[in-house]
Symmetry: D3
Subunit: 306 residues, 6 copies
């Protein structure tokens, strides 16, 4: 097993690599290295190495369907291949990796193209946390000459909303920052909500940064449309087969550095937003109802279910 | 006009005095000083002085019905009095002030007595922000030997939830602190919610710290009962007659000390919780429906409407 | 029995007199005439005449609580009176009538004063049908220098919304007219809804022009506050004691002048709006919750229940 | 202490006396006996005896506000009395008892009179469990010549719905019986729901036979109006002051006579219906909103709060 | 470019051709003429002509997915064809056109067959506006011997509901006409609602005549099932890719012929009904959930997405 | 026609065979016998016999999609077959039957595997009625070593909940039994609800034992997730094409053995649970949204629609 797998897994575990896209890219590159350096004698040995790599990478973080789907895809390509020679198969790993990365980029581009059509001049968009897919979409809308405004929550405990605000200000977008709990106070001023996703479950629910489900509830109560912006490959097939999406709990010190003795601090990183609160998922296949996400994935990426 | 009025109003304006009860107490004491030092020659002059004092005190903060009702009460007592001599009237100011303070204390005691009956051993109470009336009630429940747990939001931007947490820990209560946006994640673990009030409107709605209305929405969605703990004199009669309750907006630096240029930071101090989200108001008259609050005030404190 | 009673009742029946206020005023004046012309010999005979007059007037229209309460009030004053002489009692009828009319005017003024405080510059008000109490309120707000906009439904079948639109245009208010069924399309643009009332029931529900309950539902769905503007004496005590509020059905020709044979045309004049859809009733006692309306009437006009 | 108190309390405890009205009547009669047989020497001693009787009677059943209010009323009359002689006071107990019983009867009559107006020919009424106040009302409507239908749930575990069905059939009413869980299937066929009450709380909620809250939920979902038929003196003042209404749990054998070993059977006798599900309480004061019940009781029976 | 394209586009623009089906049929026929008269020398030239025709036809009306899908289908057939000769290709245009028209007719027949099964003897159907697909379905049910009733809204501003009423009366159906705003008053009397569609969006929402979304809301509140009757080819693929469905605004004079000066009249022709209010779409594939409409179209008409 | 068909149909009609799975198995076996004993001379004759058998079996019970889909499948296999000889075709019936039974078993196993992952140690599951698919799933979870609790309704009128309770006690599961109408009282104590299905309709609704829809409503109100556990082949294609799912009504004596004369007893066996109340269907394809069930069946069992 080449070191790259271990190193990458460790980096992911220590949060040196962050964001679903970046984690997937890092894992793909580690697999590519493995394929380049492999000393496997035959397909079987190579598949065994890949399988071990998969186990190591999967155990680095609990909820990372995009990365997991990437690894699944690459191994699936090798398994199905008629090639026999290790060299050819290793090359296949490379090309499958490139193909996956290409698909990721294309998806992001396509999502930005589709989503930006929804933004009209003078729209106000409400955003929670930071999502590179969301800000890429907004950048595109700005490049198309639309003038709009953004309201960001600060997103406690680690203030990712400030990052969103900074990126918007750089684009020249009129940006307002509020505390998370003021979402209800300001929701009426927004035309719609855009958030990213860490995972999509088989029931059509979405896992995303803590507070997303509260934002969705507030939007629902205010009758403000709520959209999730996400690649379809955030779909997590294990939820299909009964597993719960795991909710990572992070360090209390993110919330209070020197808390009083005996205080229990709970710091879940994500929460679950039910499909009933989601108007649509803006993905590479268009704007779809969350209720139909399984069948869309079945049609577009059938290998996810293999 | 004695200096005490000006000084007190200034302190209230600069937030050196905080919390509806403390502001009311400070204003009452300033009025008492005025009565002691007055050089008014007759009732008319005294009433003029009191009226000026009222104007100064009222303009120190936008939403302070408890303080305003205190001042109204004292002046009302003087107006209705048959006394003619300034000395006697001044004494009446003193006694009315004492009576009001006594009523405030009795109310707090009564509220604690009533509300603590709602707490059962092993109950979990969800609290947002800090309210001395709420923590007094919880203290009483603890003194009665009940063992319960509290979940506090940190309450951005100025973390009053930490104060609630500290007071609970001092009492030996099992206390959990969460970020505000995790309210929905943890609401199912609570048996009910307790919050304070800054003002109660004629429609039965409640003005309280920003995030209260979001907490109420989350509690409603989770079917967790939501109670407001408040003296009836937080009722604001101006809302009866059509005025909106004003929402104070505070300094952006409370949210981000060195924000990027051009960023708009909005920092409203309060929000409005609609009566439909409130199971009951725990007040000195018992646990009442918010829909009937006007008639209860009419019965108990008819002078509020004069 | 003087002719005036019969004549007035007939005019009311033929809809020559319209609008709850106008109907009440006409009935009061007829009663006053009766008292002036009476040839009754004693109190008993006078009361008998009044009682007959009451029966005739009550049967002229099914749902007219304001008129009925007016008649009740006048007779009640005579009944309770210690006077014995018919002349004195007749004078009492006159003075009670004047007092009632005065109270009506004062109430309208008070309601306008209270309600206009709710209108801010740049507010948009949504109105259904025509109510003189509502337009009086809006006139007052305009006179106070506020600049606001109004959206009116046309209010089929007899287009009373056009009357509201015309009165608003005369005031110089920016006015938009829409078909009734576009209420949902435009509700998001309104800050709140104002409608009048024909009757208020003991459960806190409101009877008003057909379409009011649909407007309330649409406002509720859009989270736009919905207020009823009405004198408290629209409260109908018979609903208290179990009677249903009657819903008058009017001529089909109002809807289609030459309909095809066999077509059934249904034309109810009113519908019922449930208290849960009403944020507040703006009345002479302030802005109150519809749930507490019985107790407010008990306090203010106890004779209604006698 | 005369035996009658102990005997009556024991009968109530063993459920030999059932139904809120019957329990209240039995307790009143026991108190009357006590007054007749008392050997107290003075008012103080008599009050002590009454207080002991009260304790014994109150402890016989957890949730019996009508009986408790009856006892409170009688003792209250004695306390307030200016009489000094025991004989006179004992007579006062008698007359107060008679007065209370008279009021109970009058209330039932008044409720029947009011409620029967709501029943139209061809109405269908949905009833859960058995309430003598409800069946008295329906009897009155039938006597007035109205022809209506009733749908009854069987009301497990002890089938009180069969009793309602039998009484209706005796009246000649078209009666349908269904299992409790078919309520949703049949609710659309009903014009409204009528249920009784065991207790009314300060928040305006109603305690009644298990399944009532489910019936209310089903009615709410089907948009079928839901009315509670009850004397106002079912209002329980202890809930005002923070106490929870107790929910009695009854014998498992009512549900399954020979259950398998280790099976836990839970058999709560009552549940709580929230005010939001109740269109109105049909009481001796008319049809009122549950939100205003405290103030109505304050006006009508102020001694309840003493 | 043959004149027929221009003429047809002009007629559509001037509303001389109305109704989604009629517009589609007109466009298809214009394309057929073009193919017959073309002087194109090769496939490339023919495709260029067709593309120009498409642009002209598409710009004639903003929201006409059925017509647009028809044109897309015909061009798609030519593009995919292996034929080289213009004559053969022109014939292909003809046969594709015939095929599309045949499919339209078959769909209407199939929808009528499926939908009429839902109608039981004694059903009451609530209809808004006029839809030929809906009335065809009802005609079929009548032909099958079912006896049912219809409630129609008049459908302001141009009274299309009268057309529905007339067609129903001709069939011998018991028909009731009401003003649009009485929908809530009468909804409880209906077993279900049937409306047509102008367009179906990728989120599963439906665009139809103004007032449809209000009717859906009223039906939802009354728990009356709401069905959309529509060919699947009303699905608009541009909404998939982010575009909003355009809402045409029509002449103010439809609402008020001689309005007062300065009055703003707003007259949107359509509104959007959210999928959550729709029980099912009755289409040629059966009765389907609106949430799954994209995948059904993907399966049945994959060329729509090309 | 062999007797086995008639006999089986009769047994099904008399409820000697019960439960969707058992009924399907019995019908399959009867068809197998028919194929073994057939004296048909050619494919056409065999198909005619099969078609007659189908008619007899289908008419034995109104709502049995699983059985009907089984029969459809077998006949479909024969129809599509290229075999000509009756012997070969009869064998095909046998193998198709075996295949169907195998699929049923596999599905049950797969559902148990998927569903049991949802059960965590200390979970509490709420169950209504008895479903062998549900209890098989719970058995599996227990075998996997999970310790959980179950709350069962007794399920009037025939107490199938007692069967569920007994099976759970045998597994050593902590089991609580309640009356059906106490569902709301206990729902808050459950983590989720599991019920079976008799049929799934094209709109995504579920037909199951009377009371299921009430349980779903109660779960929805309490925010407790509600899952249906069912093989996909419970999907009923006739609902797709407009037919209503029939609701069987059973004997009144199940509810009351000796009811009073004139009492109408209504005893529907099933009710309909709308898709909006169902979090997911746990089926052999995974946990899916009920909204997408048609497309999942189209993908997995396309022959159902033939």
């Amino acid at each position: 097993m080449p070191k790259s797998i271990q190193t990458t897994a460790a980096k992911i575990k220590r949060l040196e690599v962050q964001g679903a896209r970046n984690v997937a890219i890092a894992a793909i590159k580690a697999i590519e290295s493995l394929a380049k350096e492999t000393e496997a004698k035959n397909k079987k040995q190579l598949l065994k190495e890949l399988s071990e790599a998969k186990d190591i990478l999967f155990s680095s973080r609990e909820t990372e369907p995009l990365m997991r789907n990437a690894v699944r895809w690459i191994i699936n390509q090798v398994e199905k291949s008629d090639h026999k020679k290790v060299g050819e198969l290793a090359e296949m790993v490379s090309s499958a990796s490139q193909q996956f990365l290409k698909n990721l980029e294309d998806s992001q581009e396509r999502i930005a193209e589709i989503g930006s059509r929804r933004i009209r001049t003078n729209s106000t968009i409400f955003a929670h946390c930071h999502s590179s897919t969301v800000t890429y979409l907004l950048k595109r809308a700005k490049q198309e000459g639309k003038s709009f405004a953004v309201i960001c929550t600060e997103t406690r405990p680690v203030f990712q909303g400030r990052k969103t605000a900074e990126e918007m200000l750089e684009l020249g977008v009129k940006t307002t920052l509020i505390v998370d709990s003021a979402a209800r106070f300001f929701m009426n001023k927004a035309d719609f909500v855009l958030v990213g996703a860490d995972a999509i479950t088989s029931e059509g629910n979405v896992i995303n940064k803590i507070g997303t489900s509260m934002t969705a509830l507030v939007a629902h109560e205010a009758r403000t449309p709520f959209y999730v912006v996400s690649e379809l490959l955030k779909f997590d097939p294990v939820t299909m087969y009964g597993d719960y999406e795991k909710i990572e709990e992070r360090s209390p010190s993110e919330i209070w550095e020197n808390p009083p003795k005996d205080l229990i601090i709970r710091n879940p990183a994500f929460d679950v937003t039910r499909r009933d609160f989601i108007h649509g998922i803006i993905c590479e296949e268009g704007i779809i109802s969350p209720h139909s996400v399984i069948e869309v994935v079945h049609r577009k990426y059938p290998w996810v279910f293999e």
